[in-house]
Amino acid sequence: MKRFLYIVTGAIGSLAAILSITPPQFGGASTGATSALGGAKSSTSSAAASNAAAATTATPAAAASTPAASSPAPVATTKATTKKKKKTTKKTTTKATTSGGTTTSTTTTTTTPATTAPAPAASTPAASSGVSGTFTGAAYDAAEPNGRVWGSVSVTIVLKNGKVVSSTGSQSPSSRGPYAFSALDPFFASNQMTLQEIKAMTTSSVISKTLYVGGVTYSSLAYWSSVKSALAKAGI
């Protein structure tokens, strides 16, 4: 009985000690989630969240202006660094998947077009509002903030009258590509999403939709970047 108390005391003590040294990022992430679900349009309460949204919405705009997957690196990186500074610098390494970390990782993924493959796979030229055709986005590295790369991701989308009817990702080398994409493909291709909605998505909304596919955060961010690149090629 006494030893049981020792065990409990030891457990609570060490748990409390660790949590007080590095508080969990649970709450911090939830602010991001709220803003993410509301999308970029909705007014966000947290300054950090709107900052993140601004950083990410800047990317497709820059990409759209140039047909190929040009790198909007400078803009995004500066945003990332300012955000990093707001958070305690120590945590950027350990808390990679938490809110602070995700923003960092996003910028990494979006800013590094891995193998700049601007293969213009557009079979049908963009005509008017109702764009149709098959477009392949540039390849992006699914990179963790710690430098680990889960292969580079490229997405081919099929548009019909301005709507995504199918979306197929490929990853090379495919570490766990098929697994991740079985959740991502239907998500981007489902009819419930219009192009505007896809474009208006924020980093956190991508993550919140796909995070329960554990550990594919980086793949999904690269996937999303490639989708935007494909849309840019379609001239949308």
Binding site: L19, S175, R176
Partner: protein, 442 residues
């Protein structure tokens, strides 16, 4: 001395608790509100908690029976085995829950059937096939340890299956650090987890393998003779070098490994059947399992590897001036060894239960020692009905029963009956000492 011993076990408990706390902390450090935002997200998060706790408890379970001598000395091997047995099922439940929830969580997320999801998990995640195998081994060890299953198989079969637990734990490690969200991108969490496994591996290799091997070689124990004592009962006399250094006492047991063909791979727990000397050690064995004939056929000169001594079934646990030793069948052997250990001031009664006269093994020795020191031996031969081991019945032979220390060794029903009798007679727990055969078997 006693305080020092207790202090060591307390330290071990605190270390165990701290580990549990850190394990919980690495989860809390890595989880976010996103993870908990959807129903199946919650399912997956619960599965991860189950996985962390289950793995931690599995490691603790292995370490508990890794024969760390200062923990063994302070807690007692039997008690550690009991904890190991209590903990084991929980770690299996938790890991089973992890497998189930992961499967359900991902299958629901991806909207596929469970079978399809199982295939995807195994084929698309790194190290998932070894982890799945590990789970199968782990579950097999758990199921075969379940009382009803355990009773249906030989000690050797059970033991071999149980041995695979080490492999199971090792196989599951890589999928944890390569796919676990609490480790990906969390280098400190990963470091802790790696250190945890390395520490467990070092403990097991040191205490379970290296130290017993070195000691066995140093004492150079070899079979001297095998003597028949009764139907199916044999004494193995072993000769070694400087055996006093082992500090073994009558009443304790060792885990023995006879280095003969077909036997070297498995060890057996046998109690000493005589107080050890500096040169000789004796055990007396009833052939119960598949092992039977092999004991009889042991050749003199066969090298013996051993682990031990184990057990707190020893003379200095007695607090009263009167001692009652109750043995059933071959369970008399540790009591026979104990009998030599009590000092002359103790008054001793021995109750020897057996179903037939033939089963009264070591009878001559018992009588001889009893005569020499004035102890009484009561031979109760017959069925359980003839000799109900109740407080009243025992008191018929030993009037001072309620005012004595009780030592009992034998089959579980006898031990249970005597425990009830002792309770009935108002004998406190610290004066009741038991050694049920089954507790040796880890």
């Amino acid at each position: 001395m006693a305080i020092g011993k207790r202090y060591q076990a307390d330290t071990a408990s605190i270390v165990l608790g701290v580990g549990l706390g850190i394990t919980a902390a690495i989860y809390l450090e890595s989880t976010t509100a996103y993870d908990w935002s959807t129903f199946y997200g919650k399912v997956l998060e619960i599965s991860r908690i189950c996985a962390l706790l289950g793995s931690y408890l599995a490691l603790v379970g292995l370490v508990l029976v890794s024969r760390i001598h200062w923990i063994e000395k302070s807690v007692g091997h039997d008690r550690l085995v009991i904890w190991h047995r209590k903990l084991g099922p929980y770690s299996l439940y938790l890991i089973t829950a992890h497998v189930f929830f992961v499967l359900v969580g991902y299958a629901a997320t991806e909207r596929v059937k469970l079978g399809v999801e199982l295939w995807r998990l195994i084929t698309n995640y790194p190290w998932m096939l070894p982890a799945t195998l590990g789970f199968v081994f782990f579950a097999a060890a758990g199921i075969t340890s379940y009382k009803k299953a355990r009773a249906k198989m030989s000690y050797e079969t059970w033991w071999t299956i149980h041995l695979y637990t080490y492999l199971a734990v090792a196989l599951s490690f890589m999928h944890q650090v390569l796919t676990g969200p609490m480790f990906l991108g969390h280098p400190l969490n990963k470091l802790y987890w790696q250190l945890l496994y390395i520490a467990a591996a070092i403990i097991i290799i040191t205490w379970r393998f290296a130290i017993p091997t070195i000691r066995s070689l140093r004492h150079n124990l070899r079979v001297e003779a095998v003597v028949k004592e009764g139907p199916g009962v044999y004494s193995i006399i072993m000769k070694g070098r400087n055996l006093d250094a082992l500090g073994a006492q009558g009443g304790q047991f060792f885990s023995w490994r006879f280095m003969a063909p077909r036997q070297w791979w498995i060890s057996h727990p046998y109690s000493l059947s005589a107080a050890p000397t500096n040169d000789y050690i004796r055990v007396t064995v009833k052939s119960l399992g598949d092992h039977s004939d092999e004991v009889r056929d042991l050749k003199p000169g066969t090298r013996v590897f051993f682990e031990g001594p184990y057990g707190t079934f020893v003379a200095d646990k007695a607090t009263k001036g009167h001692v009652v030793l109750i043995g059933g069948g071959v369970g008399i052997t540790p009591l026979r060894a104990l009998l030599e250990e009590f000092d002359a001031t103790k008054e001793i009664d021995i109750i020897f239960r057996a179903s037939t006269e033939e089963d009264l093994v070591l009878r001559k020795e018992l009588d001889h020692i009893a005569d020499g020191r004035g102890a009484r031996v009561h031979y109760l031969v017959g069925s359980r009905k003839e000799h109900p081991m109740s407080a009243r019945y025992i008191s018929k032979f030993v009037p001072a029963f309620r005012d004595s220390d009780v030592y009992v060794c034998g089959p579980s029903p006898l031990v249970d009956a005597v425990r009830d009798a002792a309770h009935e007679a108002g004998i406190p727990k610290n004066r009741f000492h038991d050694e049920a055969f089954e507790f040796h078997n880890v």
